[in-house]
Symmetry: C2
Subunit: 177 residues, 2 copies
DNA sequence: GCCTGCTTCTTGAAACTTGAACAATCCGGG
DNA sequence: CCCGGATTGTTCAAGTTTCAAGAAGCAGGC
């Protein structure tokens, strides 16, 4: 959960600055980050498990489907949107299908492909539970931050995501890099 | 993963402001947040699984132990520090013990209690893998943010954590509230 | 047509997490 | 002393995630 603490022996200060520990201030920021993100994720997971009977990530899958044209997506696309592996998605969809919130359909143009379709029932669950979830997010996050902080948070998270992403934008334009 | 999307029917605008959707801007911030935190956690988990043979959370447990006096902590205290349940900790410690990085010791003053002690071997693993982990954190986060952004992130996460915590500071001083 | 390599999705086993239930112990009051 | 309630840590079962492997279909070159 944390980076190397003070009590872990410091590595020899590398000439080039590699292997540099975090400063005290960085350490504080990092621990706050871990602390807050852990608590928030736990909080939302419990909220949704209680009110919707599924973990946060599964809820996110239903949301993605609800937003998609004809409320359906190919497995691979859904997996990419949700930033999870296809394998994980397969298991998740199997579970959601068992709950009746989702249904599979063959893709006519590619016989390997599968669509996942949000059922009426799944849509209903979303409609019923979305307000509570939004409320939880609002209460835990937005109500506590000033407009400037919200803006700043957005920018920061944007930057971090871009740095970690396997190059989403321009991934199909490799010659630009 | 996401809050209610545009395509989920809006709840009747409650007079008191309950059940309010997120604004477009809030929505953007929230999705950036989810996106970034997911990617970062995945990134660090893989990094540590690869280089240290354990998930991020387990690494955090070792760090906590390394920082503690005599490199040992009671189960409950460790669980609270790491923000996980006692149950989860029990499993985790069992695994770390099997790996030889940690060892249990009875608490002399409370026969229900257990100490978890970081072994020399566990300490060694930490010493070897900490630099790589710090590097990953630095690279994914601090190198990409301006000093102002780092400061801002710290403040924001502090606020969020405080809002969610079962009242850590002052929990034993209830008369102050 | 028929390889070869790639993509799509699924599967199975092992690892990890969750929540409830539990035994053992502590602690304060009567 | 003894009881009831609280705390400590573990365990079980069910659910979720990961990783490696694999079946099936596509697509291009020959």
């Amino acid at each position: 959960m944390n980076t190397a603490p003070a009590s872990v022996p410091e590595p020899a200060p590398a000439p080039d600055g590699a292997h540099r520990w975090l400063t005290d201030e960085e350490q504080r920021v990092w621990r706050s980050y871990l602390h807050a993100t852990t608590l928030l994720e736990d909080h939302l997971d419990r909220q949704l498990q209680r009110d919707a009977g599924m973990p946060h990530i599964y809820y996110g899958l239903l949301v993605q489907l609800a937003e998609a044209p004809r409320r359906r997506l190919r497995m691979t696309e859904l997996a990419m949107n949700a930033k999870i592996t296809r394998s994980r998605l397969s298991h998740a969809i199997a579970r959601l299908e068992k709950s009746g919130w989702v249904r599979r359909e063959d893709c006519p143009s590619d016989r390997r492909g599968q669509f996942t379709v949000l059922t009426e029932e799944g849509y209903g669950v979303l409609r019923e539970t979305a307000p509570g979830h939004v409320h939880a997010v609002r209460q835990a996050l937005f109500e506590r931050l000033s407009p400037e902080q919200q803006k700043s948070l957005g920018e920061i998270m944007q930057i971090v995501a871009e740095g970690l992403q396997p190059d989403e934008a321009g991934a199909d334009l490799p010659w630009l890099r």
